[in-house]
Amino acid sequence: MPLLSVADLHTHFRTPRGILRAVDGVSLTIEKGESVGLVGESGCGKSTLGKTVLRLVDPTSGRVTFDGEDVVRLSRDALGPYRRRAQMIFQDPFSSLNPRHTIERILTAPLSVHGIGDRNERRRRVRAMIERVGLPLSSLSRYPHEFSGGQRQRVGIARALILGPDLVICDEPVSALDLSIQAQILNLLVEMKRDFNLSYLFISHDLSVIRYFADRVLVMYLGRVVESAAGADLWAKPLHPYTRALIQAIPDPTRRRQAAPIGGDIASPEDIPRGCRFHPRCPIATSICAEREPALETHAPGHQAACHHAGKLSRPPEA
């Protein structure tokens, strides 16, 4: 049984301009100890998906099953045990820590809210955790603004892990950091995964980070998963034209001054194109693509894609 399974999840928002279909029929599973990468561009719904899984946003329909229990049906008050087991690490280390609280307070509060340990036990756990994420004990009495971005992200990681979760959703955890700091944080996340036996849903727009971090990769476009495969398969043989475009769009010294792989803008999730969502930008679209939305179908063992022409794209990209 997978740790987390999401089935046909929809999260829609009402906006003045109509219904915004941020997540529009997503299914996925995460096994215990697995690191699943979720890649996509802004507006594809990857963040909303992460927040819906954690019930920070309520889904419109669909099921989220965690360790055999349907989380969507739980009332807000009954979510407590789930909150202890599923946590989130945020992108912006500047806005994700309360500027008016010391690090000690930020890390102790989750324990006291969940009634874990007495004062001394909490103190011990907080001290162990802050050292575990590579910060000195003296940081406990300081405020978030006294730290650099990378150091704050360490605090964010400590806060997510202090309750001892099984699943951690990392929402672009290194995107706001400088390159020389990104590796430090990625390595820390890997160490944490090993030490605490974590499962990750790793959300990022950066394929190269996903490549390093994920066992399995989901590619999202406008609220849907368009391709899903083990990392190695995806890089070697992407089936969906969007995945190919994403891979080729990564700036790469071996493609000196090559033209952009695809044109056009991402459509608004308030106005999703009919048929295949990607067809207006797709280099291989045909008439069927404008009419019928392709389903996510298995094309090779463990490799699914939602494209009418997926079979025809067997040639690996030039990269």
Partner: protein, 332 residues
């Protein structure tokens, strides 16, 4: 060798609180793309603002020179500088939403530049605005010209900014992290566009970025900055194939890339320990606190950029010594 289009030499920018750029020098030839790479705090954006003479009031360029087409920009009186800005040197920024005026249509904003610098009538300026939007590959330019910035996507806004920047056919375009706020497929389009405009309009391009991939794909030459100083200067492809400065080497090793066979199950990424904040107050080389090969002599004074072979400069005496020893060994 003819004089370069832009020649920055010994540039030092001081604030009351510190010296974010020190002793920086690089040159940009006609039609060339030079990338300035560094992380936040490296002083790369301040350098761009200094070239435009748009530094905040409290800043002072205390020494050095910025020569553009043979003229010293730092000595130019403000009214003349205003004629250089926009007409000869243009600049685009990272966040196209905040650099466009939200209450004016795209067309009005482009036309304003044309009326100011070229003295076009409003009708001619509008016609030219539509042509410019077409040039930067905005679909339906005659419709978009009347749109307000918030109606456009991020990529379209950046195109509109580029249209404004190239409106007067500048000789030099400074692009400060032009694609950092954009999605990867849109980023590819915008970089492609900038490079095409560079060729078609015969501009030189100064590309300020933190992304070494962009450098490798689009730049001719690259200046790596660390904590306000030049660390390494080289041909872009050379730099990526064979980085010399310990900082550049560390950066390349630390960045997960698609072609590299790096996976978390196979081992950790190489890290550069610490952060750029450690350069503060360092009397010697700013990279010393994070450097794996620092010698005691590195701590005494900041190393200058020295030529190791034609077109290749590094500011790292230990590396320099090693390379020279190697070269001598090969020569023997």
């Amino acid at each position: 060798m003819t004089a370069p289009l832009l020649d920055v030499s010994n540039l030092t920018i001081r604030f009351p609180t510190g010296t974010p750029v020190a002793d920086l020098g690089f040159a940009v030839g006609e039609g060339e793309t030079v990338a300035v790479v560094g992380e936040s705090g490296s002083g790369k954006s301040l350098t761009a603002l200094a070239i435009m003479r748009l530094l905040p009031r409290t800043a002072r360029t205390t020494s050095g020179g910025i020569r553009f087409q043979g003229r010293d920009l730092l000595a130019l009186p403000e009214p003349e500088m205003r004629r250089v800005r926009g007409r000869k040197i243009a600049m685009i920024f990272q966040e196209p939403m905040t650099s466009l005026n939200p209450v004016l249509t795209i067309g009005k904003q482009i036309a304003e530049v044309l009326r100011l610098h070229e003295g076009l009538s409003s009708e001619a300026a509008r016609k030219r605005s539509i042509q410019l939007l077409d040039l930067v590959r905005v679909a339906d330019p005659h419709l978009r010209v009347d749109d307000f910035p918030h109606r456009l996507s991020g990529g379209m806004r950046q195109r509109a900014m580029i249209a404004m920047a190239v409106a007067c056919g500048p000789k030099l375009l400074i692009a400060d992290e032009p694609t950092t706020a954009l999605d990867v497929t849109i980023q590819a389009q915008v970089l492609d566009l900038l490079d095409r405009l560079r060729r078609e309009l015969g501009m030189a391009l100064v590309l300020i970025t933190h992304d070494l991939g962009i450098v490798g794909q689009w730049a001719d030459r690259v200046v790596v900055m660390y904590a306000g100083r030049g660390a390494e200067e080289a041909d872009a492809t050379r730099l990526l194939d064979d980085p010399l400065h310990p900082y550049t080497r560390g950066l390349l090793a630390a960045s997960p890339r698609l072609d590299a066979r790096l996976h978390y199950t196979a081992g950790p990424l190489r890290e550069i320990p610490g952060s750029i904040a450690s350069a503060l107050g360092e009397p010697g080389c700013p990279f010393v606190p994070r450097c794996p090969m620092a010698l005691p002599t590195c701590r005494t004074k900041p190393p200058p950029l020295e030529e190791i072979r034609p077109g290749r400069l590094i500011a790292c005496p230990p590396t320099l010594a090693l390379e020279r020893a190697d070269a001598a060994a090969v020569g023997r």
